[in-house]
């Protein structure tokens, strides 16, 4: 690959525009996805026509999508989905069939041909992994129940997408050939899934255990793993996204996956931006305008239809109305895969570019609106709370992960953390330890404490620790910003002990409400000062006093 001359200029223009529009979007509280699509629209043939979709941008976009699926794979802890797996499958299948039907009928209503309607049906079926995961994780809501349902449904959809994509890529035309192709694809997916599963059990824990302390090595290994799978699936004819997804999935079962997620997030953010910019770049005025009215109508039908199906299905399964509403909102849009499908369709001569334009426009409209709905899902819920209350009933309950309450929370498991946790165990029923050092994994997993491996700076981890319900919070983490968040997020009734590195930090933390600021140096200095004074006043007494400490140090200190 040789870079075209002037690559920097093009790139700079694209990124800077995206940055500016993205910032504008953020400031006006819009989702950035829209800003990126607009960037592409603005600079591409639709508007200013300065930049053309090049091989370079396309490549980046594709890599981005693969990385996104990798990220999604890493975020899916199968154990957590396992609880709701049955429900999720039901929801997914129900939604997909109804959406497909709806799509087909819509196509027919607009007077499209059979083949065109089929494509519309396929486009309608899937929800956007990129948008949903991106928006949910930026709100730290992936591990909430609606988040899990969303991810679960998307997971199942992804399997279907994979099948369809693979099918389209083959040259099968007769039903028997198609059947054979499906079988082949099924086999290959199983192979990849199998490798993924086996390595997550046997190989990966060994490899990653050693390197998880070194950030750089960890990152490189993670990337390598992704690339290996991507290449593997590419070489056996499946799309790269599938490989990336399974690579991520196999890593998700390791306790260190959170670290990896945070590591590659900037990379993924960047590639995703390019992906959406690309979408904008690829749209020409002509293709879009032919079916503009129809697109709006279709968008409306899709969003309302999907929402309805999802809402009632989830409600049927006895989840709370809040969950049903949010889950349904999260998934009511058209997937970016529809673009990929459409592009394939055009290249095979199955549909015309205008139909592709129609699909694209519909997708953009739904993604646009949906981003708002997802971003403001909480407000939505509030608005319709009383309406929903009417359909609520005793029987409806969320399948919730057990929640902790009135517990003691220790963040950071160093020497002091260890001792403190021991003391706290006497008084508190539940003691939760959050720690990001892989050296402690074994000990903590086997201990009686509730254990979360991860960095407390990440919103997801803080949510998982239920910090606002804890009665005692002790942080041994030296990071000032994290400790500040801790003091702010802890309940006002809880006792909060945090660490600080200097007096200014300590003062601020006290001001914010901390009850005790641990400054190791101060503690030690005070103690040492006392000892030294004792030495100078009465040497005999000094030696007696310190004898106990000396014994403890000598014989190692195993228990209190």
């Amino acid at each position: 690959m040789v870079l075209a001359s002037g690559w920097a200029q093009n790139f700079a223009l694209i990124i800077t525009t995206a940055a500016i529009l993205g910032t504008a979007a953020r400031k006006t509280k819009q989702p950035t996805v829209i800003a990126y699509i607009f960037t592409g629209l603005l600079l591409g043939p639709f508007f200013l026509d300065i930049i053309v979709e090049t091989e370079g941008t396309q490549l980046l976009g594709e890599i981005g999508l693969s990385f996104l699926l990798f990220l999604i794979g890493v975020e899916i802890k199968l154990d957590e989905i396992r609880e709701i797996f049955r429900e999720v499958t039901f929801i997914a299948l129900g939604q997909m069939s109804v959406s497909a039907l709806l799509g087909y009928l819509t196509g027919q209503a607009f007077g499209f041909t059979f083949m065109e309607s089929v494509f519309v049906a396929a486009a309608f079926t899937f929800s956007s992994t990129a948008v949903v995961v991106k928006l949910l994780s930026s709100k730290d809501e992936i591990s909430t129940l609606p988040g899990k349902i969303g991810v679960g449904v998307l997971l199942i959809q992804d399997v279907a997408v994979v099948l369809i994509l693979a099918l389209l890529s083959t040259s099968a035309s007769t039903p028997s050939q198609i059947a054979v192709s499906i079988a082949e694809i099924g086999v290959m997916i199983s192979i990849i899934a199998g490798i993924s599963y086996l390595s997550s059990q046997k190989l990966l824990p060994k490899v990653f255990r050693k390197v998880s302390e070194n950030r750089q090595a960890f990152f490189i290994h993670g990337i390598t793993w992704a690339f290996l799978f991507i290449t593997l699936s590419d070489s056996i004819g499946l799309s790269t996204e599938i490989g990336a997804f399974f690579a991520g999935l196999s890593l998700a079962q390791l306790p260190y996956s959170h670290e990896l997620i945070e590591e590659i997030r900037p990379l993924t953010d960047f590639f995703m931006a390019v992906f959406f910019i690309n979408i904008g770049l690829g749209l020409t005025g002509n293709a879009l305008s032919t079916y503009m009215v129809e697109a709006f109508v279709a968008a409306g039908i899709l969003m309302i239809g999907k929402f309805a199906v999802l809402f009632f299905t989830i409600d049927r399964l006895k989840f709370t109305p809040e969950t049903s509403l949010k889950s349904a909102l999260n998934l009511s849009q058209m997937s970016e895969f529809s673009l990929i499908l459409g592009a394939l369709g055009v290249s095979k001569g199955l549909i015309s570019p205008e139909i592709f334009g129609f699909i694209s426009l519909t997708m953009i409209i739904t993604v646009g609106f949906s981003s708002y709905f997802i971003a403001f899902s909480e407000n939505f819920y509030r608005r319709f709370e009383h309406v929903l209350a009417r359909i609520d009933s005793e029987a409806k309950n969320d399948v919730e992960v057990e929640a902790l309450e009135d517990h003691a929370l220790v963040i950071g498991y160093d020497f002091i953390g260890r001792r403190s946790a021991e003391i706290l165990e006497d008084e508190f029923e539940d003691v939760m330890v959050v720690d990001r050092n892989s050296a402690n994994v074994n000990e903590l997993s086997r201990s009686g404490y509730e254990y979360v491996y991860g960095d407390f700076g990440h919103g997801e981890i803080r949510n998982a620790s239920q910090i606002n319900k804890a009665d005692f919070v002790m942080s041994l983490v030296p990071d000032f910003t994290v400790n500040r968040k801790i003091v702010e997020e802890a309940s006002p009734d809880a006792a909060v002990f945090v660490k600080a590195s200097n007096l200014d930090e300590a003062a601020e933390l006290y001001d914010l409400g901390a009850h005790y600021v641990i400054q190791k140096n101060e503690l030690v200095g005070e103690k040492m000062g006392e000892y030294v004074k004792l030495f100078l006043e009465d040497e005999e007494l000094f030696h007696e006093e310190v004898e106990k400490d000396r014994e403890r140090i000598k014989w190692g200190d195993r228990s209190v």
């Binding site: 040789v2 400031k27 590419d234 009850h515 005070e526």
Partner: protein, 549 residues
């Protein structure tokens, strides 16, 4: 698409495997990447790596610029001005002559001298294995000299680039180059804070903005006919405003890692099987940068009056070839400024130097011991005595290390009216000691001359707050009747020494005991925590107010 994929997979796959092996031995990773490049280069046409290398360079240099904090320059630079000037000049000149003697042309020789005279802040900093070291004198000296060298490097890049154009436009080029940097400086001062506030820590936007700056400056540089390196550096400088640059660095870290790998792999891929001449060039470069350069630095430092240990360790810290030089060399090679032989020689020398210098840093102490006999002239230890002020003391307390803990101990001692000598080798802290009007010896606790100055034989108590093993051992080995109290980081380390001394201070143990009291207090009495808070808040406010006066 597939070919890029396979390329990237191969690159990362082999690098991964090599890293996995190296992890056991805690090696630096750079040689692994270069190694995998070597392997891949056999199968894939090296020219396909040029673009990857370019992007990698841009990122590396970008991060260089990011970490540069112009405010720090004035203070940090002063530390090692003399030493750096002498070293860079001498080493540079020597290499230049060597190049000419090897029949290389002017340009090649110039690039060779840049290679040897500059050492790396990236690697150099990575190799300073404990954080403590930055505070210690030799760490500071090393940091300072590397900073100066970064600046020299970037100036050299601009100049050299300009030189290969016709003489008319040389001035133009220089002006443009400097102009770009100045523009970056202006952006940094006036524009960037506003932008950063707008972004308000949104990570996604930060990535985009940083990349926007990077590509923007590179684009401008390219349009002006300057090299990508200058653009990338300027971009880094533009965003280097503290504290935002930390966030940017954090966010960009993965991207930088990603592209660094590509960069170093590209280097490896570009290596060809060396001819004799190339090997000779490489060896010459290595000898100069690994042996002569540190020797010159050490000699200058000792002549200035620093103690031998500081001089030796500093010298050993700068004994590598900078990846900055590599970046410059690749650029020059692709642009046809230097020849294949010089280029190959530089690569080989650089790779070898990464490896070697990781060893010398890690075993710095041992090397220092061995070098102790090497005294081209009697060290005046002027710096040690220059800041020393002790009388002839008896029955005094010697305190090693004047950090927060040290201060508290001193306060306690003042009440007892005991004579005190502080041993400290951090120039900032020594100023604190002087202000507090205590006796002191400014020197290295590992160096005998320091202890002699402190009259250790007549002391009553030696108290060390430095948890460094070698210091503790040094103290234990001192022949004196004084009681000794040392400090260790862990209980295990403490257990080793506990029989040799009067007391071992293990901070964790002491801190956790104190803390346990507070925890129990909170659990027993609901009002305890509020009382605790109130008390401490008042205490802290009082101290902070006193500090302001």
């Amino acid at each position: 698409m597939s070919e890029i994929l396979y390329l990237l997979t191969a690159v990362f796959g082999i690098s991964s495997a090599l890293i996995f092996v190296l992890e056991r031995y805690s090696h630096p990773y750079l040689p692994a990447y270069i190694g995998s490049g070597l392997v891949i280069g056999q199968f894939i046409d090296p020219t396909s790596f040029y673009s990857l290398a370019e992007i990698g360079i841009a990122f590396l240099v970008f991060i260089f610029g990011l970490k540069l904090e112009p405010e720090k320059l004035k203070t940090v630079v002063r530390e090692s001005q003399a030493m750096t000037t002498v070293q860079v000049t001498m080493v540079g000149l020597l290499t230049f002559l060597a190049g000419l003697m090897l029949n290389l042309n002017l340009m090649d020789s110039l690039y060779l001298s840049i290679t040897t005279s500059l050492s790396s802040s990236l690697i150099g900093m990575q190799l300073l294995n404990k954080e403590i070291e930055i505070d210690i004198l030799h760490g500071k000296l090393a940091e300072s000299t590397q900073l100066i060298q970064d600046l020299i490097a970037i100036t050299a890049v601009i100049t050299l680039n300009a030189m290969h154009s016709s003489s008319q436009t040389i001035i133009n080029h220089m002006v443009l180059g400097i102009g770009l940097l100045v523009a970056a400086g202006l952006v940094r001062r006036y524009l960037f804070s506003k932008i950063a506030e707008l972004i308000d820590q949104e990570r996604e936007l930060m990535v985009l903005t940083s990349l926007g700056f990077l590509t923007g400056f590179i684009a401008v540089a390219q349009t002006l006919g300057l090299s990508t390196v200058v653009g990338a550096f300027a971009a880094g400088v533009a965003i280097s405003k503290f504290p935002y640059n930390i966030e940017v660095i954090d966010t960009m870290e993965p991207l930088k890692d990603f592209f660094s790998v590509l960069f170093f792999v590209s280097i490896g891929a570009l290596v060809i099987f060396p001819s004799l001449k190339i090997l000779v060039i490489a060896v010459v470069l290595l000898v100069i940068s690994q042996v002569i350069k540190p020797a010159v630095a050490m000699t200058v430092l000792i002549a200035q009056g620093y103690d031998k240990r500081t001089a030796h360790l500093t010298g050993l810290n700068i004994d590598q070839i900078s990846e900055f030089s590599l970046a410059i060399a690749i650029q020059a090679f692709i642009a046809g400024l230097i020849g294949q032989e010089a280029f190959q020689g530089i690569i080989i020398a650089a790779s070898a130097s990464f490896l070697i210098s990781s060893y010398t840093s890690r075993h710095g102490e041992k090397i220092h011991q061995k070098l102790n006999w090497f005294e081209p002239f009697k060290p005046s230890n002027r710096k040690v005595r220059e800041k020393t002020s002790t009388g002839d003391l008896e029955d005094h307390v010697i305190l090693v290390g004047y950090d927060t803990q040290g201060e508290l101990i001193v306060e306690a001692l003042e009440e007892e009216e005991q004579d005190l000598v502080v041993i400290e080798n951090n120039p900032d802290r020594i100023n604190d000691v002087i202000e507090d009007k205590e006796n002191y010896v400014f020197g290295d606790a590992m160096d005998e001359s320091t202890w002699k100055e402190a009259c250790y034989r007549e002391a009553d108590l030696i108290l060390s707050t430095v948890p460094v093993r070698s210091v503790s051992e040094e103290i234990i080995n001192l022949e004196t009747e004084a009681d000794k109290i040392i400090r260790t980081e862990t209980m295990e380390a403490g257990a080793e020494f506990v029989d040799d001394v009067s007391y071992v201070e293990v901070p964790d143990l002491m801190a956790s005991e104190r803390l346990a009291d507070h925890i129990k207090g909170v659990m027993e009495d609901p009002s305890y925590k509020d009382e605790l808070r109130r008390r401490n808040l008042l205490e802290i406010r009082k101290i902070l107010n006193e500090q302001e006066e």
